[in-house]
Symmetry: C2
Amino acid sequence: MPKNADEMLEFAAAHAKDLAAPGLSPRPQRKVAVLSCMDTRIDLFPMLGLERGDAHVIRNAGGLVTDDAIRSLSASQRLLGTEEIVVVMHEGCGLSGASEDDFRRQLAEDGVLPNWRLGAFSDLEATLHHSLDRLRTARELPHRENVRGFVFDPEDGSLREVDAPER
Amino acid sequence: MPKNADEMLEFAAAHAKDLAAPGLSPRPQRKVAVLSCMDTRIDLFPMLGLERGDAHVIRNAGGLVTDDAIRSLSASQRLLGTEEIVVVMHEGCGLSGASEDDFRRQLAEDGVLPNWRLGAFSDLEATLHHSLDRLRTARELPHRENVRGFVFDPEDGSLREVDAPER
């Protein structure tokens, strides 16, 4: 019987004083939203120098610009005042080299044919480039001038930019 | 001109040694995925006692069980071995009490009619309950027995469970 959830509740209860942020605004002070992968080796706060109150954090499998990422970013900009987007993908992603067909077959065997694709990719930089292009032309976003893309390598801890914006 | 992205790159470069996790598996060691809101007041690692390597972290506007969250959770379980899901919503969410109509009108004025809804809600606990129900019946997920839902209150730092699982 998994007990992560119980352990998490206990942990939070023991640290409530540190977790309280009374009066901290839901509007990110640094006016930035970060979109990244769900990968277990990524903790964006110590990676990017973020404190609570600074940024919105959006994460999904791959750090892909899905419709739902656009929904979140649109809410971030239109309701809560962010104006800048940073996308963080990474080396060694579980979606890199995965097979859409195998995944789809596995789902079909369980009787489900989803209306989404896994999002497997083979070329990390091309995928990130495509994501940045999509964000820069997304009319759902009022602020699409400041969109930057990084690649994190968990093996050596490096973060490099891919596709610097036109200046 | 926003300079968050540049500052983040500089910060990461100065901390690469701490960010490196050579050999750390992309398969979460605690076999758990956390789904939460993008809210700026939420940092899940110190909230739930997570270390890098422990969990997948999925975040979107609201911490809602969207199709894309199902995609990510499905990848998490089918490709990377997680077996447990913890959903963390929170008090004071930007989507709480927001207007779908106003948001849609704003988008329409910018010439876009998205195929998604904002996800505004009025009843936090009912929304979380609905999310848990959806996950527990989602055949996209091979492991749907251990799904738990929490509500975080950023004002006092408390984390409480909503809708304990049937035992």
